[in-house]
Symmetry: C3
Subunit: 266 residues, 3 copies
Amino acid sequence: VITLLTDFGARDAFVGIMKGVILSRVGTVQLVDLCHGLAQGDRLGAAFQLRGALPFFPPETVHVVVVDPGVGTTRAILAVRLREQFLIVPDNGIVTPLLDGTEEVRAVDLARFALPSVSRTFHGRDVFAPAAAALAWGTSFADLGPVVEPGRDPALWPAPHAEPGALRGEVLHVDRFGNLISNLPGERVDPGSRVFLGDREIGPLRGSYSEVAPGSPLAILDSFELLEVAVRDGSAAEQLRAARGTPVTCRLPRDRDAGGRPVQNR
Amino acid sequence: VITLLTDFGARDAFVGIMKGVILSRVGTVQLVDLCHGLAQGDRLGAAFQLRGALPFFPPETVHVVVVDPGVGTTRAILAVRLREQFLIVPDNGIVTPLLDGTEEVRAVDLARFALPSVSRTFHGRDVFAPAAAALAWGTSFADLGPVVEPGRDPALWPAPHAEPGALRGEVLHVDRFGNLISNLPGERVDPGSRVFLGDREIGPLRGSYSEVAPGSPLAILDSFELLEVAVRDGSAAEQLRAARGTPVTCRLPRDRDAGGRPVQNR
Amino acid sequence: VITLLTDFGARDAFVGIMKGVILSRVGTVQLVDLCHGLAQGDRLGAAFQLRGALPFFPPETVHVVVVDPGVGTTRAILAVRLREQFLIVPDNGIVTPLLDGTEEVRAVDLARFALPSVSRTFHGRDVFAPAAAALAWGTSFADLGPVVEPGRDPALWPAPHAEPGALRGEVLHVDRFGNLISNLPGERVDPGSRVFLGDREIGPLRGSYSEVAPGSPLAILDSFELLEVAVRDGSAAEQLRAARGTPVTCRLPRDRDAGGRPVQNR
């Protein structure tokens, strides 16, 4: 299996051409489009989608990630072995949120794996695709290139901030339904919390969208174990005017003022 | 062959992740994207696309349909055997327009076929995909779960209404070209009819778009044997300001007033 | 390998249904979506994407091109053998920019290869897909139909215009990033040229996007060896208000007035 994750959109044949390069080298392979609708250069979006996808693919899958504003510079192209799968990804920090210390990272040897003629603007075709094909075709991971230390961008995926009575985070991703996915992991959210989006109280954690009336906001653990703010049968992003970066806070029930009202953060 | 039909759009890796679940269970399978551009929760759109697609897929094809606003509730997930093909579809009425009495409908046994951990918000990944993989991998249809009576929604796909001299229907679907596809089946449309969109006369049935001048409206039988109102080289939806639900009427030639003008419906 | 290139967009199951027709005839085949985001009837866009894709696909690949405003008329559907690959394409001039005199062109024999019932509006399903499946299944190219002379549209892909000190062309394509791809081939552009978009000077040819500051315009050879005007980390189409047809000119350094300023074209 080879998957493709890019910011190439649907207007051009870029993704199809990468598949042509792969199929010119590997006779038979399962090609899967992970997502091509990332915003231009959206490294956090790429990391977010990868984090969600990795647990559901079989061992030996090769994930090709082309979100690469630095194309044509000397930035390396990395091959990463991670939880029995492989990534081919630019060395621009995308991989930071996925690293857990068990990974092995190599810089793809361009002299051996790139196409004979490498363009200045489309390394997805000229380097990423042939490197992925090499892995799928049986090249051993160690032969892809020398071990390197990947560039890291710890700010890419902000960490939640815990304080007495509250866990503070922010919206990482707005999905197709307008659901707001935060950086607050389910295992750190107290089940008795009340959830706030900015200063607006959303309410307690719900078990399904249908627990509130159509058009009403709710908080729920999303399918990737992150806290999500949604609107049933509607778009939370539009209705609550939120976007990536909007603060999301979980407050504990004991964190109340004398009148029983939640303490607002002003 | 497994096909996927969803309202997941192109912003997220949801569809790719479903494919990862399938490929983790079935080594080799032909995966086909039927359509992922349905509006959020558009059950009629899902039924419309399925009706068009079924006749063109080989026997044993499994069609996975995730248009599922009730995700996380107790609504069943159905496995349907229909004309030598299979559907995995939520029990929310989508299947109503496809049933002809020859089908066999079962409720997927979650205990046997769902992923070990089922989320509240993404049953496409956690139930639909593994159930489809089970079918493709050779599980017999009868083993998927008990026979059930599917929920029906007869209003989902409105029936045409016949009256003396006229057959009345409405727009079901606006396609990518702005063509307006109605619920009037070709076999019920008199070839001598004149077609009206709302109160506006479109004209007689045409044999191809090229029978009218560019920019002109026309009526034609579409490729799925439904009456279509189009604009040559243009968008009927925009130019004629029509949408799903706009009335479409076929009037017989004998239905004319003394002056030979069509009788208007006022 | 069978690829599909259409203006069908993402709202309908048209592409999926074509795949169903192919898979009903050919058990196992690699299906690749080249691009389905072409504007309605955009023949130049189809030719542009094909020109870029062909060099990267393996021999015997069949490319199915459905950009076909003349569907339902008597225009032929062509099968073209070109550089060891095959095209199935309407006879509407799309193929003109790809022909080099080595090709063999035949008209698909509808009586033998079309579906039993051919609609007026969806020949992609009823003719193109079964013809492609026949090729993939082993039908010899010569059996597809009689040799014909394809219709040619020399104006579809305008040729650059050379004059003393300048090479004049225009924008052919705006890609997903807003990059403006011109009809000026790299081998005809003097490396010392200064590039103009309309009357605006963009500057010299650059080697990578990163040679200019974020937000600044630049000229570069794109990955298909055509001159491109881009904005680093931005959209040249939006920022420079350009579109298909906007003039692009390369001026030689010697083409300067007494003050050393580039001669403007007024």
